[in-house]
């Protein structure tokens, strides 16, 4: 796999507490990669390790085939990390131009890049206003603009929709879609699971500094899907539960709101047709058999609760 990001055995402690504990993953070039985890799971620490802002106790990071401490490598990376940070007494345009100059861009090119980035995030109208008068959402947009300033091939976004109004959230979501469509790699850390479900090709789930799941978003969703099997009588349901258990399948009574005699079965290796044949072979004929798709939210909660 041609990877934009490769992390191998990353470990980072703060004191005795392991914030990141042996994480390894690869982000394919051109993909939108979702990075999920509850608060305090180590997402932001991992992002800081990826960007070279923190040094790992162990492990290594490769960004676009180079080191995160290499200026030429970081020049192709744009990042929004946690809260936006700008010089409050400078305007939005001046802030971006300052960082363009810092990156070695000539004056005119830096100014044009700042204008372009501000236009992308819809801040052109307030480009000459001091940042200290900006709302949280405007600062967040400016942080996205800063990430896009150097027209990066890899964009790392840590909670990019924090503080945005619903309109802003939709805009940023659209922007991420556009970035992906243009062939850029996007690494997206967020709490908004619908965002990940809609945008991300692959997902990693972090819990207490460890990766608890990693793979294609579709695979992860499949892991959470259930087969709801309804029977006419409770005797049939009980007998079906025993048959399924003998076949090595987990079956549990459905929660309130479902039909009284409904079983929820994790299909596992067997498909729904095989389960249907198995039940028929034991003279059990369900009144209804429905495959219930899981939401990323339910999969996420299942993965992160009780780990």
């Amino acid at each position: 796999m041609d990877a934009a990001i490769e992390a191998h055995g990353l470990v980072r402690h703060f004191g005795l507490v392991p914030a990141v504990d042996g994480i390894s993953f690869q982000v394919p070039r051109g993909s939108v990669y979702g990075f999920l985890g509850p608060n305090g799971s180590g997402k932001t620490t991992t992002i800081r390790l990826l960007l070279g802002l923190l040094r790992p106790d162990r492990g290594s990071v490769s960004l676009l085939g180079g080191s995160p401490h290499d200026a030429s490598c970081l020049a192709k990376v744009g990042a929004v990390v946690e809260r936006p940070a700008f010089y409050p007494y400078l305007s939005a345009h001046e802030n971006l131009r300052l960082f363009a100059t810092l990156a070695g861009m000539p004056f005119a090119a830096g100014s044009a890049a700042a204008d372009r980035a501000l236009g992308i995030v819809g801040l052109t109208v307030v480009a000459r206003r001091h940042v200290d008068g900006f709302s949280t959402g405007m600062k967040q947009r400016l942080a996205v603009a800063l990430a896009l300033l150097r027209d990066p091939t890899l964009v790392i976004l840590d909670e990019p929709t924090n503080g945005l109004d619903p309109g802003g959230v939709v805009e940023v979501r659209g922007l991420i879609g556009d970035l992906a469509a243009s062939g850029r790699t996007v690494f997206l850390s967020t709490h908004v699971l619908t965002e990940v479900e809609q945008l991300c090709d692959r997902v990693a789930v972090l819990q207490r500094g460890r990766l608890v799941a990693e793979g294609l978003t579709s695979e992860l969703l499949e892991r959470g899907q259930r087969l709801a099997i309804a029977f006419d009588t409770s005797e049939e349901a009980d007998r079906a539960a025993r048959v399924l258990a003998d076949a090595g399948l987990q079956a549990e009574a459905a929660a309130a709101g479902d039909h009284d005699n409904t079983l929820l079965v994790t299909p596992g290796q067997l498909g729904s047709s095989a389960i249907s044949r198995l039940l028929a072979g034991n003279d059990l004929y369900p009144a209804e058999l429905v495959l219930r798709r899981a939401s990323l939210e339910s999969v996420f909660l299942e993965l992160t609760e009780g780990v």
Binding site: G52, L53, H69, Y89, L98
Partner: protein, 317 residues
């Protein structure tokens, strides 16, 4: 390096804190100088009742001596030293504030993170910042020295009759003790230069503390506390140590800076060699070159530590 310096200029030119200090210190110093110069000719002796003629003669001579003595600091080139000494406290505090503010606020605002992402070579970034800081402090210093040079033209103080400062009157204690001879331009610049070194030390100490504690306020506080604690510790040690141990407190930063100021004033003829630090109990004079070398090691060490601290620092802002 050029892009780093240009980027810093984009930031500094809009930062009012910096300009208030850079412009404010020379202006405040000039105001203090003008106030001092305006009141320098106030010495007068008044008589009441029947005063004998010989006492009157003596009093008039004393008044003339006092006027000449008070006018001395406002005559060129001594005015340069006067202006620099007037700016000393502001210059040191200003240099320390500039360093603490320009380094510490990057951490408080979190902008150090953006800087690290746009310029991962942190040492060059810090070197550019150091160039700007030293340049700004130098600009303040040059402005103060220039004001000291032109102030006697702007605010003329009648030198009175310097001949009235006879050895008899000086030795009789009718004017405050101290040399009353001429001060050369080199001597005045030496005094001013010693104050610049003190300002650099303040900048180095406050900057290091701001980098270590990642806050401008903490930087200033820690630098201030360190100076006080070292000063008190050195005084205690000087008054109690015997033998070779007497040399230990002489290595302290604050002690060396005090010695530098004292030596410069003595060399310029502003104080006698009996005054200044030599009056401190337990004081051991070091050869000037040795003292300067110790101070140079201090400054190089403090500035060097700036780079050591930032080079491997975690940027978790």
């Amino acid at each position: 390096m050029g892009s780093l310096l240009r980027a810093d200029w984009l930031r500094i030119r809009r930062c009012w804190d910096v300009w208030i200090i850079v412009l404010g210190i020379p202006v405040l110093t000039l105001l203090a100088y003008v106030a001092g110069a305006s009141s320098s000719g106030n010495a007068s002796v008044q008589f009441s009742g029947d005063v004998p003629a010989d006492v009157k003669t003596q009093a008039v001579a004393q008044e003339a001596a006092m006027r000449a003595f008070q006018a001395l600091p406002y005559q060129f080139p001594r005015s340069i030293a006067t202006m620099a000494q007037g700016a000393a406290m502001w210059l040191v505090v200003g240099a320390a504030f500039l360093a603490a503010s320009m380094l510490g606020s990057e951490f408080s605002w979190g902008t150090i993170r953006n800087v690290a992402l746009f310029r991962p070579d942190r040492l060059r970034y810090l070197a550019a910042r150091l160039v700007w800081l030293a340049g700004l402090v130098l600009a303040i210093f040059v402005a103060v020295v220039a004001l000291g040079a032109i102030a006697p033209v702007l605010v003329r103080v009648d030198p009175g009759n310097p001949a009235a400062l006879t050895p008899d009157i000086v030795n009789s204690g009718m004017v405050p003790p101290g040399p009353t001879g001429d001060v050369s331009l080199g001597g005045a610049l030496l005094v001013a230069g010693s104050l610049f070194c003190v300002a650099l030390a303040g900048m180095a100490l406050a900057g290091l503390a701001a980098l270590k504690f990642r806050s401008a306020a903490s930087g200033l506080l820690v630098a201030g506390i360190y100076s006080i604690v070292e000063g008190i510790g050195a005084s205690l040690l000087m008054s109690r140590a015997t033998g070779d141990l007497r040399y230990v407190p002489q290595m302290g930063l604050t002690v060396r800076l005090a010695a530098l100021l004292g030596d410069a004033q003595t060399a310029a003829g502003l104080t006698t060699s009996e005054g200044g630090q030599s009056g401190t109990p337990g004081w051991v004079p070091l050869p000037p070159l040795v003292g300067a070398a110790i101070l140079a090691v201090w400054l190089a060490g403090l500035f060097g530590l700036w780079f050591v601290v930032l080079r491997r620092a975690d940027i978790d802002e």
